[in-house]
Symmetry: C2
């Protein structure tokens, strides 16, 4: 088993990936293995008993949205009598930010990796404040989700058809020259996404009132493109998964309780440890005491070499997650220590267009003692509240150590 | 005469400026002193005999657009028999990129400086390729201008009314965190401009076909926001003009033949010298032999402390104008040597949010031998062709030496 050759094969699949946003549809119709009694969530597998507040809150909201429960109490009772199955988004070629809760009726973006032929999916971004992905499920949160399901998603799907899809690799490359790192900062990408769709939305037969609402979604939401970016990263990394001998990390994800990773050459196994609380900046009125441990599938961006790995491109992000611009560049530089290579498609202007550090090698992580860096939002630890800040976090070293031991076991 | 106190007064007016894009209207109706027989142009005053090819081309196009001539020959004859008056945009509180040709029927953006109460104006950006501002005047160029006059401008004006105007200071501040420097690179700003207007455009009563065209203008044109940005800079610097004793440059502009500057404490006098050819990158098929000398009012951006002065914020621009990202940062750092102060509203992320170098002091320019840096487009030297490249240029030192002599004469 030649690990280096296997890692080069994995890297080749990452570098040649061609993720294209091809459309929008209903999770039940599109996501492989989706069913009415199934709720997908972020991170590695977890039982209801061990779930954190924001994940439980999002599940309660999802069950009310689906009409399977009328209240929090009904939703909880339904779960406790075994009426709901839970599986990770990642088991279904999907990803979701924060709680990542994806239910049958929800619309999803469809990304096709035209190099490898695989697809990946992500739900729609709800915007800021009290939102399901941070565990909020009040009536206004649900009303917003119904509007996304019934109005926004069909309009965007229709516009994407007329646009002939959207090249997400070119999108990400462009974002990285415009101060985005693609995880916590997606302002430029969302502006580009909105401006590209706008002329096609104009031809969708929407009333002026509805068209205004849809265009306002893109005008106001600096995270609109996050979910397609995440799905593009998922489609990219899935293509690099399953290569015998490869020590490249193809997934990092958190369910709010555990941080888990998967490795290309180690099949479907998860290597998990307890998630930690990010270090960051809190919104007025909140502090670290309110924070839930790290949560969400959005670490697929770092797994694919953007997010905190591309932080050098986004010095202004320190106003949101803390730190200094020099530390932003240092974050990227450090990640070259633990990656297999660089992605020339994603050139970082402040580093003279050097490609982003790409392809986390568990061997290098364990050898150097450097864990991957992650930029992230911070959820309140209680259900029903929402986002309380944003910051920086690293996965537990134990995940990488366990994976390396598993790789050693395979080799013997 | 306390020069330093006068310069602090000028700087104060720059730093407190509040340029807001308040609307759109017809040049004839809005620009002070505009008339049917008058054509405004970029740069200092110039006679037809001394005008460069692209400026002549744009004037020919402007006369055909206004219906004052049917052909190039008719336009030239009309000019040669004295039927057209020419004055700088800058004499009318206006600015225009490249040739800067602004005629009576053209729509203009209106910027109000809410701190000082003054207004400034700029025409609409036409997009890329064969365009009037680069001296092209073929039928497709004119058709595009008619569409801007008749369709785009009214729609944008209407949307701006519904939006309640647009804070250009906040816009520029945001651009500088998104890889724009506000002169040659306005990709992020144009995307934001488009996304902010889009929901308001949806309510303008336009047919889907026309709305699609208007939204496509914003989707395709990375310079859409350049003209309002220039007018915002003009409204800012006009407020700092006319302070007795101030050696702050309030205007730098080129007509394609001469580079001219004006100084706050030196009234309406221009200090000019022959413009030079920018050093830069050429589009395929063109070279420096095709280039016209430096042209346009867009140097108002550098005068106000953005453009090349903010190049540290836009490392990716070197792919367009030449050089390396390190040189982009060095360009900004050098400009601190010749400026009165820094603008904290325009923090540069790569320089730890240091404010842009602002307020060129002619004394410092002459003493250090450092002339201002300018990012610019390059026009073909012949009329009727258009843009051939983009690059970097500096004004002639003679402009600053003459101005300093004039200041010395005043003091004696």
């Amino acid at each position: 088993m030649d690990i280096n050759a296997a890692n080069q094969e994995a890297m080749g699949r990452v570098l040649t990936a061609q993720p294209v946003l091809v459309g929008v549809g209903r999770a039940l119709d599109l996501i492989p293995g989706m069913s009415l009694d199934l709720i997908l969530h972020a991170g590695p597998p977890i039982t209801w008993e061990r779930m954190s507040g924001p994940l439980r809150g999002a599940i309660i909201g999802g069950l009310i949205l689906e009409g399977r429960a009328g209240t929090e109490a009904e939703a909880t009772a339904l779960v406790e009598r075994g009426g709901v199955r839970f599986e990770p988004c990642h088991h279904h070629a999907a990803v979701g930010p924060m709680a990542g809760v994806t239910t049958a009726s929800m619309p999803v973006y469809v990304i096709e990796n035209r190099a490898a032929g695989n697809r990946a999916y992500s739900n729609f971004n709800e915007g800021y404040g009290k939102v399901l992905r941070y565990g909020a499920y009040s009536e206004d949160v649900l009303a917003r989700l119904r509007w996304i399901n019934g109005t926004l998603a069909p309009a965007v799907g229709d516009a994407l058809q007329r646009a002939g899809g959207l090249d997400m690799k070119a999108m990400i490359a462009q974002q990285l020259t415009m101060g985005d790192e693609g995880h916590n900062r997606n302002r430029a990408g969302s502006a580009i996404f909105g401006r590209l769709l706008a002329p096609h939305l104009a031809r969708g037969g929407l009333s002026p009132e509805v068209l205004e609402q849809v265009l306002r979604y893109f005008a106001d939401n600096d995270l609109a493109v996050l979910n397609p970016v995440m799905a593009a990263c998922k489609a990219t990394m899935d293509a690099a998964h399953g290569i015998a001998g490869s020590t490249v990390v193809t997934c990092m994800a958190r369910n709010g309780t555990d941080f888990g990773i998967r490795v290309s050459g180690l099949g479907d196994r998860w290597f998990t440890a307890l998630a930690t609380v990010p270090v960051g900046l809190y919104f007025p009125g909140f502090s670290a005491a309110d924070a839930n441990p790290d949560i969400g599938d959005s670490t697929i961006t770092e797994t694919a070499g953007i997010g905190a790995f591309a932080m050098a491109a986004a010095p202004a992000i320190v106003k949101f997650v803390g730190g200094t611009p020099a530390e932003a560049a240092a974050a990227t530089l450090e990640m070259y220590e633990i990656t297999v290579g660089e992605n020339p498609a994603f050139g970082l202007p402040p580093l003279d267009f050097r490609g982003t550090p790409t392809g986390i090698d568990i061997r290098k992580v364990v050898r150097t003692g450097i864990t991957p860096r992650v930029n992230t939002g911070i959820a309140h630890r209680m259900p029903g509240i929402g986002q309380v800040g944003a910051g920086l976090v690293r996965p537990p070293m134990a995940c990488f150590e366990q994976a390396l031991e598993a790789m050693a076991d395979l080799a013997t």
